[in-house]
């Protein structure tokens, strides 16, 4: 708390403007070159019900969602009841609430530590006074936070202007007034220990952008050359198609909302056959419907990228919450032996790079690539370092070269050492062929010969060897020679990484490995990681131990490997990870 980071939670009713306040903070942080991330949570009401958010900001790295809160802003204690369990106060944390000193105490039952201090501030009253409407109470609160924690004023005001940029000048001015009133109030009346002030390391000033994982994935796909998107809305992935709906048409690409996920996957396959870099994005229920056609893309060797922003399952599950329980489906969900690649972004920024790799792999190896994002990454509004746009180099599919193979000799599914065969493009290449979801010979004609089937299986799986060898995509944290190691994946990276850093700083030799190409796993690298270990802990957010099972399927885990897993629904916490590490160290 304080010092180099601030963890802040807010809760309010519909109309309290919790999300607007949060996003303004994220923007302000980004403007000041800080890292920042925001986790939203909503009540059951479709719209306008109670909501909460948690924000973590720092000049240094921020890779995990906020654990316990330094500050809790309660616009409404009744709503806090619903979210309390997600809004745990840390030791020494403070609470800000709407009200007058001296009024009757509201009913509070704060989860976590007893607050070091409760500031009662007449937010609503000040809003009415300054902005003429109680709706501005969130802006008063923002001002209070700014004053109390010494947040960068210039950036706060700029962010606030951005937030209201579509509103009238009058509204903007009123909100600024409300903000300023809050700020003065805090400066005049309140104080927190200076240790709680956020130290902004100006040397860290940096090019920041504010994105969610869905934004990064959509933009990354566009830059990777994706010109065709077909999809069907579903939480928490819809924003990918919404962003592309906005930005694809201008570049001549097609974004189409289909009747269902089956049609989406079908169109992606058709578009890819016709030469486009094509993708879809969905969540668990949508993947379940696409399974058959993912298998088709596998046997017919059609490049395509499928984003799955995982949510809590099974079935409809909890659409707004995140989990890591679609992993085995991604790897093994199709019937038959159907090779595909599964790759997982580990944070918001990463979505950008992962899309690049996904298109590279799928176009080069001509197979479906599943990008396993999750609800946390997908929707977490973050201030991140601007992605490296120059790293994008769209890969061109290998086509039969006119001078190397004549149309008559061309065999679409010729057995090659790499498993990859040239793929001609209709309208561009005279090398005609017929693709098939039925088992086929090298020419693409149906066969029921078992020997041919075996050879084709070999060919198709050989491509995975190439992927495992070529795509080196794994994150390491901590000293190489640590004797205690953790392996995790996806958005668990954040808390794992921070826990490793915390413990390393305390002189404890722990390390972590986050494979990103989860299938096929580059087992060499993993075994190397195991070498120094006395103990290995596998970490995931799946009740049924899917990651553990996936690892077991692909390699031999060290004896006595331990597992820490639980259902999703809330992100892994840094302190939770530290606790797990400590248990192992004992």
């Amino acid at each position: 708390m304080g010092g180099d980071e601030l963890n802040l939670g807010m809760v309010g009713s519909g109309g309290d403007g919790v999300m607007v306040t949060g996003e303004t903070l994220v923007n302000a942080a980004a403007k000041k070159g800080m890292k920042c991330l925001m986790l939203k949570s909503f009540g059951p009401q479709i719209r306008g019900g109670e909501a909460s958010c948690k924000i973590r900001m720092s000049s240094k790295k921020v890779s995990a969602p906020p654990d316990k809160l330094d500050v809790l802003l309660a616009l409404n204690w009744n709503d806090y009841k619903r979210f309390g369990i997600e809004l745990e106060l840390s030791d020494g944390g403070v609470v800000i609430e709407d009200g007058h000193e001296g009024d009757e105490e509201p009913e509070r039952s704060i989860v976590g530590a007893q607050p070091a201090k409760i500031y009662r501030i007449p937010l609503t009253e000040m809003a009415k006074e300054t902005a003429g409407t109680k709706l501005a109470k969130n802006m008063v609160a923002l001002g209070v936070l700014s004053g109390l924690f010494d947040l960068p004023d210039k950036e706060m005001q700029a962010a606030l202007r951005k937030t209201f940029s579509r509103k009238s000048v009058e509204i903007i001015d009123n909100n600024i007034k409300a903000y300023e009133a809050g700020k003065s109030y805090a400066e005049d009346n309140l104080q927190v220990p200076s240790s709680m002030k956020l130290v902004i390391d100006e040397s860290m000033l940096d090019k920041r952008v504010v994105m969610t994982g869905n934004d990064a994935a959509a933009y990354g796909a566009l830059l990777a050359g994706c010109s065709f998107f077909a999809g069907y809305p579903i939480t928490p992935s819809s924003e990918i198609m919404e962003w592309l709906s906005n930005h694809m048409p201008a570049y001549g690409g097609t974004m189409i909302q289909t009747e269902d996920e089956i049609a989406a996957m079908g169109m992606v396959i058709g578009a890819s056959l016709a030469g486009a870099k094509a993708m879809t994005a969905t969540s668990g229920p949508g993947i379940s419907l696409m399974i058959e056609l993912i298998g088709l893309a596998s046997i017919a060797e059609i490049p395509c990228v499928i984003v799955n922003a995982q949510r809590v399952g099974p079935s409809t599950g909890i659409p707004t919450k995140s989990e890591q329980s679609d992993l085995l489906q991604a790897c093994f969900g199709t019937h038959g032996d159907a090779p595909k690649v599964v790759i997982a972004p580990a944070d918001v920024a990463d979505c950008f790079d992962v899309m690049r790799e996904a298109f590279f792999i799928s176009e080069k190896y001509q197979l479906p690539v599943v990008v396993l994002s999750d609800g946390f990454i997908a929707q977490c509004k973050s201030s991140i370092h601007e992605p490296d746009l120059d790293k994008i180099r769209p890969w061109e599919r290998a086509r039969p070269k006119a001078d190397e193979v004549s149309p008559a000799d061309y065999k679409r599914y010729e057995i090659t050492p790499s498993g990859v065969t040239w793929m001609s493009i209709p309208g561009k290449d005279p090398h005609l062929y017929r693709a098939a979801g039925i088992e086929h010979n090298e020419a693409g004609d149906p066969t029921s010969d078992f020997a041919e089937h075996e050879r084709m299986n070999e060919k198709r799986y050989r491509k995975l060897e190439g992927v495992a060898a070529e795509v080196n995509f794994m994150r390491h944290y901590g000293p190489d020679d640590a004797s205690l190691g953790v392996i995790g994946w996806g958005s668990s990276k954040g808390p794992i990484r921070e826990a490793v850093e915390i413990l390393n700083a305390q002189g404890l030799a722990v390390k972590a490995l986050i494979p990103q190409v989860l299938y096929p796993l580059d087992t060499r690298q993993v075994y190397q990681f195991f070498e120094s270990l006395d103990k290995l802990l596998v970490v995931e957010l799946s009740y049924s131990k899917q990651f553990l099972n996936l690892l077991k399927a692909q390699l031999d885990l060290p004896d006595g490997t331990l597992h820490y897993g639980r259902s999703g629904g809330r992100p892994l916490a840094v302190y939770e990870m530290v606790e797990q590490f400590r248990k192992l160290l004992d």
Partner: protein, 293 residues
Amino acid sequence: MDTTVQAAPKPSTPSEYKSGLKPVWCPGCGDFGVLNALSQVYHRLEFDPMNTMLFSGIGCSSRIPGYLKGYGFNGVHGRVLPIATGAKLANPELTVIAAGGDGDGFSIGTGHFPHTCRRNVDITYIVMDNNIYGLTKGQLSPTSPGQMVTTTSSYGSIENPINPIGLAIGCGASFVARSFAGDIKHMVDVICQGIEHKGFSFIQILSPCVTFVGKDQFGIIKNQVRYLNEVEGYDPTDRSHAFQVADETGQISLGVIFQHPFPEYRHGTEIVRQRLIKRGVPEMKDLIAKFRP
């Protein structure tokens, strides 16, 4: 199109448009007629196989891409329409044809049909309707007539069959036609019209299954056909007239039953694109500005 391409000589007879692979169909199957008709269509319209994609699902009828020159795809059961749509949207210069059986199109694939009709993407869809599941050896199809005994309707079907023509018109299809595998010339004419139609064209072809329905089908159908182009005053743009034809019993009308020009899907996308271009399109890399705080 790439300039490096060594153009293959274009086939010069209908039979040169066939791939040469031997069809797996039973002798006498109606699908042979459809294949022959298609090879003549390809020839009449002077298709360049390199620019032609023929898609299908799974079924006896869906084997057809294997037998014609061009790019082909024998996909999975029921998904021919989305796959063909994706190809056409991604590569609008191609001629895209979708084909399949009555089960493929009106049972497992039903969900895609109304949406393909309303989108009106410029593809042609040929359903080879034999009122039965041929490939899986004789189960009930959604077009099997009431009371029909099949392996899955042991005591006669108790369902009302789907009416593909009525459904297509009801779904707002812009081109709806019917032909018969026993009349190659008619098929060729109708399919050519369908392909030349701008937008989605749907063609039902009555294509008897001699093995699981019976050899007598050709005769039974032949006895009931009438040709719409011989019906005086038949106006295929008259929707309610077309519905009557769809509902007819006792006779079978062949020809273009309904045709109505309305804007093709691409028309809509092009308008949007031009509008955006006029507004000015930033470099893709400059879109990053949208994310600056």
